[in-house]
Symmetry: C2
Subunit: 158 residues, 2 copies
Amino acid sequence: MDNIIAQWRAERPDLNLDGMATIGRVKRCAALLQPKLEKVFKEYDLNFWEFDVLATLRRSGGDCCLSPTELFSTMMITSGTMTHRMKQLESRELVERLPNPQDARSMLVKLTDEGFAKVDAAVTAHTINEQQILAKLPPEKLAALDEALVDLLAALEA
Amino acid sequence: MDNIIAQWRAERPDLNLDGMATIGRVKRCAALLQPKLEKVFKEYDLNFWEFDVLATLRRSGGDCCLSPTELFSTMMITSGTMTHRMKQLESRELVERLPNPQDARSMLVKLTDEGFAKVDAAVTAHTINEQQILAKLPPEKLAALDEALVDLLAALEA
DNA sequence: TTAATTTATCTTGATATCAAGATAAATATT
DNA sequence: AATATTTATCTTGATATCAAGATAAATTAA
């Protein structure tokens, strides 16, 4: 990132590059995190989106039933993508689709026992992995990081 | 994000969710930033990856020549993806491919005058946009954010 | 009640991406 | 020099995604 900024500074000294540096770091951190997280999901034969769907169902609690619309709305993906995901998770028998007695247009997506067990094991390993990744930072820096991210998130969501 | 953590805390009180909260915020910040940045690129008829390629060439300076291999290596994409990008940028006459006199296997990718002018205008607007996005945070919080991201990036790159 | 509108989901067609393999030129080895 | 290896790029086939439109059920309005 510093290298990119240095290149721009040389070519375009007229630009204010402070924002680019910070935003570039956010994006780069996210990009570097991705494969580190996927590594653990892979141990449970899941890719990122598969974990994401199963985890959304699992943490919703109750009998882990949500409609596809609830799922794709909270997950910020389109309905077509959700259809695609459902098909594959259903064929792997990690979720099942039940008719919604309240509304014949809609379905209820439910974790199978196998899906429940798998995501429960995966999320345990996932949280441990996340702790380990961040353990490279001392506690006070970690606290500062989290606080700063809360502020940024608030600014971006506003 | 807080909501997701609260759901997990209710369902799985045994998990340490601190890392999930911080990492989730990083990913969410990156996801929220994306469309805000794309909005400006769109004003110049560019999507994210088009800007990315043109900007990489532009900031490399000199005559803005790089080989496809130099491009895809620094941009963390595969060679096949780069081929695809080249085709489209070439058809839009934003870059041109010249034979490399030093090595007949490789090409030199160069910004056209049009490509140069376009990316120069786009990056000006882009940096202003980035400054505006972050201007919602007071300077001292911004400084703390950047410092924290430098620390995190160092930990992730190690 | 019938028609119009809204809502939930799925389908279609397009794009971006990657992994793996193909091709061809350059370099190293024998 | 002839062969083997490495390097640079492109091709192919598969997947994930979205936007826009299709379908069908539920709700509202006339």
